[in-house]
C-alpha cells in the first residue's frame, strides 16, 4: 500500500484545465506537480491513519458479485453472444498474426471503421486485431482488447458511504492507473473528491484542491463524484452521432473511434463525468495497463471524449471496479441491482440513500448513503 502511495505522490495532483498555452494565462493557477502533494502521505509517514484503526475493509477484496451468465435477448449483443468463445480463442492465438497487419492499411481501415453497435462480429474481430497490432507497434506491449458483452440479468449499481469516506483520493489514483488515463498534456481523473465544510452541501463552496497533512480533517466531510451512470442520461441523448450510449447492463460507454469531438455531451452532463483529450494523451509505457476493453480503458487518441465505465474491463469479468478495491475504508460498494440479495440492493433498501442532483431526474445508478 505504501509503495502505491509513493507512486501516487509523484504524479502530482489535479490539474483540471491546465494544459498547453492556455494555462499560463489562466487566472487560476494550475495545480500540478509534486508541490501540491497529497494526503496519501498520511499512510506512510508513521502517522497512524484513521482508516488503519477503523478496520473498515469489508467489501474491498476482489470477489465476484455474481455468476456470469451470458446475455440472451438484447439485440445489441446477439452477435457478440454467439461469437465470444471463438473470439477468445482467436485472441489467445492472435499474437502470431500481428506482424501481418500493415500500418498503412490500418489507418485506412481505422478511417472507415463503423460504429461499435453496427459492427458485425467479423468487423469487430478485425478491429480488435488491428488495435492490438497498433498498440504493439506503439508501446511494444501485447494488449488484451476485450469485447465482452453485458452479463445476463445484470444491472450495475454503485453506492458510496459518504460518512465513511476520508477523502484520501486513493480511488482517484487507482483509477488513473487502471484506466490508462492521460498523464499529460492534461491529467485526466474520472473521480473528483469534493471536500465540504460540515453543515453545508453547496457545490460552489466545495473544494477539490484541499491539501492537509492528514485526512480526514476535523470539520469537513468528503464526497467523491464520478460518472453517475444515469438511467435517464442527458449525455447520450445529445450526441449527434450516437458515439455514446447506455449498455444493457447500465454502463454508459463511448466508442472512441466514433466520437467526433463536438463535446456536446460534456455540456450536457450535470456531474462533470466526461473528459476530453485536448492533446495526444500520453501514458508512460511502463505504467500502461494492458488488460483492456474496447469500450473501456484501451489507449485513447486525441480529441475524443472519455469517461468512467465502472471499469468495464473488470466488471464484465466478475471483478470489482478498481476504485472499490482501492478504497482503504470500504466506503465504495458495487453490485448487481437486479440481484435481490446483493450488497448494493441491501444498502439501497435499508440505508439512508440519496442521489446527486436528483431534481434533474437523471436517475443515477450511483447512490450516496449513510451507513449508520
Amino acid at each position: 500500500m505504501s509503495e502505491q502511495s509513493d507512486t501516487v505522490t509523484n504524479k502530482g495532483s489535479i490539474s483540471p484545465g491546465g494544459h498547453g498555452s492556455g494555462s499560463g494565462e489562466s487566472p487560476e493557477p494550475v495545480v500540478s506537480g509534486p508541490e501540491k502533494a497529497h494526503v496519501r502521505r498520511a499512510g506512510r509517514a508513521g502517522v497512524v491513519s484513521p482508516w488503519e484503526k477503523s478496520g473498515g475493509q469489508e467489501g474491498t477484496s476482489v470477489k465476484s458479485f455474481g455468476a456470469p451468465h451470458r446475455h440472451a435477448t438484447k439485440p445489441l449483443e446477439r452477435a457478440e453472444e454467439e461469437t465470444l468463445p471463438s473470439r477468445r480463442r482467436f485472441l489467445a492465438g492472435a499474437v502470431g498474426l500481428l506482424g501481418m497487419m500493415a500500418v498503412s492499411s490500418c489507418s485506412w481501415e481505422e478511417f472507415f471503421q463503423q460504429q461499435f453497435q453496427r459492427m458485425t462480429e467479423a468487423d469487430l474481430e478485425a478491429v480488435v486485431e488491428r488495435l492490438r497490432a497498433e498498440y504493439k507497434e506503439k508501446y511494444g506491449k501485447d494488449f488484451v482488447v476485450g469485447t465482452e458483452g453485458p452479463l445476463d440479468g445484470t444491472l450495475f449499481g454503485y453506492a458510496l458511504d459518504i460518512q465513511r469516506c476520508i477523502g484520501c483520493r486513493k480511488c482517484v489514483y487507482a483509477c488513473v492507473e487502471e484506466n490508462n488515463l492521460a498523464r499529460t498534456p492534461e491529467q485526466i481523473q474520472y473521480i473528483r473528491v469534493l471536500r465540504f465544510k460540515d453543515g453545508t452541501m453547496n457545490l460552489e463552496e466545495s473544494e477539490i484542491y484541499y491539501d492537509p497533512e492528514e485526512v480526514p480533517e476535523d470539520g469537513y466531510y468528503y464526497m467523491p463524484v464520478q460518472c453517475q451512470h444515469c438511467a435517464n442520461a442527458p449525455c447520450t441523448k445529445v450526441c449527434p452521432v450516437r458515439a455514446t450510449w447506455t449498455e444493457p447492463d447500465g454502463i454508459v460507454v463511448v466508442d472512441y473511434n466514433w466520437c467526433i469531438g463536438c463535446r456536446y455531451c460534456m455540456a450536457a452532463c450535470p456531474y462533470q463525468g466526461r473528459w476530453f483529450n485536448w492533446g495526444e494523451p500520453h501514458v508512460p509505457k511502463e505504467e500502461l495497463n494492458t488488460q483492456t476493453h474496447y469500450l473501456g480503458n484501451r489507449p485513447r487518441m486525441k480529441n475524443v471524449v472519455e469517461k468512467c465505465t465502472f471499469c468495464i474491463q473488470r466488471v464484465r469479468k466478475g471483478q470489482y471496479p478498481k476504485c472499490v478495491e482501492a478504497c482503504p475504508v470500504g466506503a465504495r460498494k458495487f453490485g448487481n441491482l437486479l440481484d435481490p440479495n446483493s450488497e448494493i440492493r441491501k444498502i439501497i433498501e435499508t440505508k439512508r440513500v440519496f442521489r446527486l442532483k436528483s431534481e434533474l431526474n437523471t436517475q443515477p445508478r450511483f447512490y450516496y448513503f449513510f451507513a449508520t
Partner: protein, 405 residues
C-alpha cells in the same frame, strides 16, 4: 457552351475592379491564409492549442457560430414584408440579404468544423453512411435545418437571378412555395440553435425557456444592422440603387427588435435576481464577477451600453435618419450583440461548472487567428457573390448583354 460563356464572363467580372476592390480582396486573402495556417497547427496538435478546458469546453468558435446563425436567420426574415406585402424598398434588399445569409451560413459551418475535435470523422454525421442521431440530438437537428436553409438560400436567389440573367419573367407560382417555406425555416434555424443550449438541465444559465425568443430578438437587431452597413457599401460601389427610405425602415425594425431584446433581458434579470437561487451564479459571474473571477464583466457591460445607446439612436427619428448616427448605431449593435450572443452567452453557461468550480476561459492567439480567418473567408464569399449577383440584378450582366458585348 452557354454555361461556359456565363462562367468566363463571371470570372472576368470577379477579377476586374477598382484598386480598393483589389486591396479589400487581398486583405481578406491574407487573413484567410493566416487563419488556415493557424488551423493547420490546431489540426496537428489538437484542441490543446485553444484556451478551452474540460471545464469550459466551448469557447470563441461556438460563440461566433451562435452569433452568425442569428445573422443568417435575420437576413432572410426580411423577406416576409418584401415578398408578401410588396413593400417596395425592402424588396431590393432581399437579394443582398440572402447573399449575406449564405455567407453567414458558410461561416457557421466553418466555425462548427473548427470546433470539432475530429473533423476527419465528419462523415459520421451523414445518415446511412454514418449515424445522425435523430430525433434526440438537437445538434443533429441543427445540422438538418442549417443545411436545408443553405439550400433554400442558394436555390431561391439562384432561380431569380438565372431568370434575370436570361431576361425572363420569374414564375412566381413555382418559386413562391419555396419563399414561403424559407420564412418558418429562418425562424427554425435560430430556434433550434437556441434549443442546443436550452435543453441542457445541467446548465441553468441556458436552461431558461426565454432563450429562443431572446435569440430571435437579438438576431433581428444584428442582422438588419449588418445589412444597413452592407447596403451603403453596395450602393456606393455599384449601380444598385436603394432609397434611403429602405435603410430607415430597417433601422425602425431594429429599434423594435432591440426594445423586445432589452425587455426579455430585463425579464430574465428579474427572475434570477428576485428569486436569488443557486442559478443566479452564472449571471453573477457574467455581470459582477463570481468568487473573485470576472473576465467577462467589462465586455458584457460594454455590450449593454452599446445596445442601449443604439436603441436610443434608432428610436429617435432624427438620429435614425442621419447617416452618421445611423451607422454609429449599426456598429454599436453589431458589437453589442456579438458580445451578448457570442462569448457572453457561451462562457457563463460553463461557469461555475456543474460541480461548482470557477475556471475561466481566455481564447488563445491560435483561436483568434482561426476565427479571423473564418470571418475573412466568409466576407470573401460575400464579396464575390455580390460582385456577380448585383450586376445581374441591375441588368448590367445578362445573357443578351454579354452576347451584344
Amino acid at each position: 457552351m452557354e454555361r461556359s460563356g456565363f462562367i468566363s464572363s463571371a470570372v472576368k467580372r470577379l477579377v476586374t475592379g477598382p484598386p480598393l476592390y483589389y486591396a479589400w480582396v487581398l486583405a481578406l486573402l491574407v487573413t484567410a491564409v493566416v487563419g488556415v495556417i493557424a488551423y493547420t497547427a490546431q489540426l496537428k496538435q489538437g484542441l490543446v492549442v485553444t484556451g478551452m478546458t474540460s471545464f469550459v469546453s466551448w469557447g470563441l468558435y461556438i460563440g461566433n457560430f451562435t452569433f452568425l446563425v442569428g445573422v443568417a436567420a435575420a437576413a432572410v426574415l426580411l423577406i416576409i414584408p418584401a415578398y408578401l406585402y410588396e413593400f417596395g424598398p425592402i424588396k431590393e434588399i432581399v437579394i443582398v440579404g440572402e447573399a449575406l445569409a449564405v455567407s453567414a451560413l458558410m461561416m457557421c459551418m466553418m466555425f462548427v468544423t473548427a470546433d470539432l475535435g475530429r473533423p476527419d470523422r465528419i462523415w459520421h454525421l451523414i445518415p446511412g453512411l454514418g449515424i445522425l442521431n435523430l430525433p434526440s440530438s438537437m445538434l443533429g437537428w441543427d445540422i438538418v435545418v442549417l443545411n436545408g436553409y443553405l439550400f433554400l438560400n442558394l436555390f431561391i436567389p439562384g432561380y431569380i437571378l438565372v431568370r434575370a440573367y436570361q431576361v425572363k419573367e420569374v414564375n412566381m407560382k413555382f418559386i413562391l412555395p419555396f419563399i414561403l417555406l424559407s420564412i418558418p425555416w429562418a425562424v427554425s434555424i435560430h430556434t433550434v440553435t437556441a434549443f442546443i443550449y436550452n435543453g441542457l438541465a445541467a446548465r441553468p444559465f441556458w436552461n431558461a425557456s426565454i432563450l429562443a425568443p431572446r435569440f430571435l430578438a437579438s438576431a433581428f437587431c444584428s442582422g438588419p444592422a449588418l445589412i444597413i452597413l452592407l447596403f451603403q457599401v453596395v450602393r456606393k460601389y455599384s449601380k444598385f440603387h436603394v432609397k434611403d427610405e429602405a435603410l430607415f425602415k430597417l433601422a425602425e425594425i431594429v429599434a423594435v427588435a432591440m426594445a423586445v431584446n432589452l425587455f426579455l433581458a430585463a425579464a430574465e434579470f428579474f427572475k434570477e435576481l428576485y428569486s436569488d437561487t443557486h442559478h443566479l451564479a452564472p449571471l453573477e459571474y457574467l455581470y459582477w464577477g463570481f468568487h473573485g473571477k470576472g473576465s467577462l464583466v467589462p465586455w458584457v457591460w460594454t455590450a449593454m451600453a452599446f445596445n442601449i445607446a443604439a436603441f436610443v439612436i434608432f428610436l429617435i427619428p432624427k438620429t435614425r435618419k442621419n447617416f452618421v448616427t445611423l451607422n454609429l448605431g449599426a456598429v454599436l449593435i453589431i458589437c453589442g450583440i456579438w458580445i451578448e450572443k457570442g462569448m457572453g452567452l457561451i462562457i457563463p453557461g460553463f461557469i461555475p461548472s456543474p460541480l461548482g468550480r470557477v475556471w475561466e476561459y481566455v481564447p488563445t492567439t491560435i483561436e483568434v487567428l482561426v476565427s479571423m480567418g473564418i470571418w475573412a473567408i466568409g466576407l470573401l464569399i460575400l464579396t464575390l457573390i455580390l460582385k456577380i449577383i448585383i450586376p445581374i440584378e441591375t441588368g448590367e450582366f445578362t445573357r443578351a448583354g454579354r452576347v451584344a458585348a
